[in-house]
Symmetry: C2
Subunit: 270 residues, 2 copies
């Protein structure tokens, strides 16, 4: 099944646009999992079990595993998800980008090693740097377009030929780069007006929207500007506001409550 | 010692601008190392021992380790370099980019886990996405500017306000982003004219130049357009043309010959 089909099914089954970002910082983990032999995996597993019926996606951010020497626990998390919840697609957030022969190695990392359903990529180096990802028709390729961080304007809002860089990227993404109909775009919740502009350019392309929760994006505006006519078209990610909803032994219950609340808030505006 | 000081010393000591890219693809390794328990490390070790007096840098491309489940062998390679050849700086080629809290994890990956002297980063997300790297004054931060791949034009040559994107990036790199005097730029050998333009913008900033060797860049033109008045200012990388110079048991000797030849060709035009 392609990423896109998997996403449509889970949107329907769980009636949810929520994506939970699995970005475990060992320093922030609750005491009750810190002592475990695999604290990151145990933390993720508890979060997944507590939220699996409330989400449309999980999104592990690979930097947290690479920065903490925890590739094994990322692999365990990916394996657990695929075995226990095969209906839920997983986006590996790695924002890779490199020349062709190297990008092939990154595609292997995401799709063959970790068996992700989709991956985030950075378009700065152009189409050939994304081709090994785009060629995998069954996988989703989530291209950075207008990111949620304060500094994203510096490059992404530069104007060329009357259009801003993120608009140019959105245009390429839905025409040139979408030859396998597997392209998605990253647009931050922190810039809802830009979200609306990209929606006009990109038709029904699915957007991965980070930046609600800890980064302060407004859910109502994201839905108003970004949803497709069927009330979908969005994967709305929250990481810290869900996974660290409580720092105590009740962290998984608290995560469930936070995910449920986000799901309901989103559905109110669909 | 800062990356910059280390680089100046080794430029002088080895009289070389050559960087060897350690991009081991297990499928391409000589039979004599394939059978080893740590084939990638043994391959790297032999290459390093054979070329250490001919280079100014090594540059492992992290995709080759991540794509082949070989982080341990990357760590072994980094440890070996630091212990046996502490005078040679190592650039971890990872082209990372992410929002602040995640970029901090990537800085930990490069500088604390692998103890690299420098790292490549992608500027598409803006200054805050590079800040955790730029803040490390003792480390080098090598920012993508005009990359060597055919598709790089697609985004990097877009014009805004009369300047191309790579020129804008070069300008930011030497003004806004260089607050710790630790910024370098990536400019491909495959576009020597652009190399000359960036040299005019970026003064004596050091350029990491990939694209000679397998990618076909012209060494003479790179030197003419890119060198600084003292005949330096460049780290010229070759990966495949050196590390796969022979596929037989003599691979290390062949790599030494290829590195020596590249060093001499470069020095002819300095």
């Amino acid at each position: 099944m392609t990423f896109s089909e998997k996403l449509k099914r889970i949107w329907a089954a769980n009636d949810s646009l929520v994506c939970v970002g699995l970005d475990p910082d060992i320093k922030k983990l609750p005491e009750c999992v810190k002592a475990s032999y695999y604290p990151i995996f145990d933390f993720n597993k508890a979060l997944i079990d507590a939220t699996h019926d409330l989400v449309c996606c999980y999104k592990p951010q690979i930097a947290y595993y690479a920065g903490q020497n925890a590739e094994e626990q990322l692999q365990m998390t990916m394996d657990y998800l695929r075995e226990k919840y095969p209906e839920i697609p997983v986006i590996l957030d790695s924002k890779r980008s490199d020349i062709g022969s190297t990008a092939e190695m990154y595609a292997k990392e995401a799709f063959d090693r970790y068996k992700a359903d989709a991956v985030t990529v950075n378009p700065f180096m152009g189409e050939d740097s994304m081709k090994p990802f785009l060629d995998r028709a069954d996988k989703g390729v989530v291209i950075l377009c207008r990111t949620s961080n304060p500094g994203s304007k510096e490059i992404q809002e530069l104007e060329s030929g009357g259009r801003k860089l993120y608009e140019i990227i959105a245009g390429y993404a839905v025409t040139k780069w979408n030859y396998n109909k597997n392209v998605l775009l990253v647009i931050g919740a922190t810039c809802p007006d830009e979200l609306g502009e990209v929606r006009r350019i990109a038709g029904n392309t699915v957007f991965l929207v980070p930046g609600v929760g800890a980064q302060g994006g407004d859910v109502q505006k994201v839905l108003e500007k970004g949803k497709t006519p069927d009330g979908r078209g969005l994967i709305i990610n929250s990481s810290r506001a869900i996974i660290y909803a409580s720092s105590g032994n009740d962290f998984a219950d608290a995560a469930r409550n936070a995910a449920s609340e986000l799901k309901d808030t989103i559905n109110q505006y669909r």
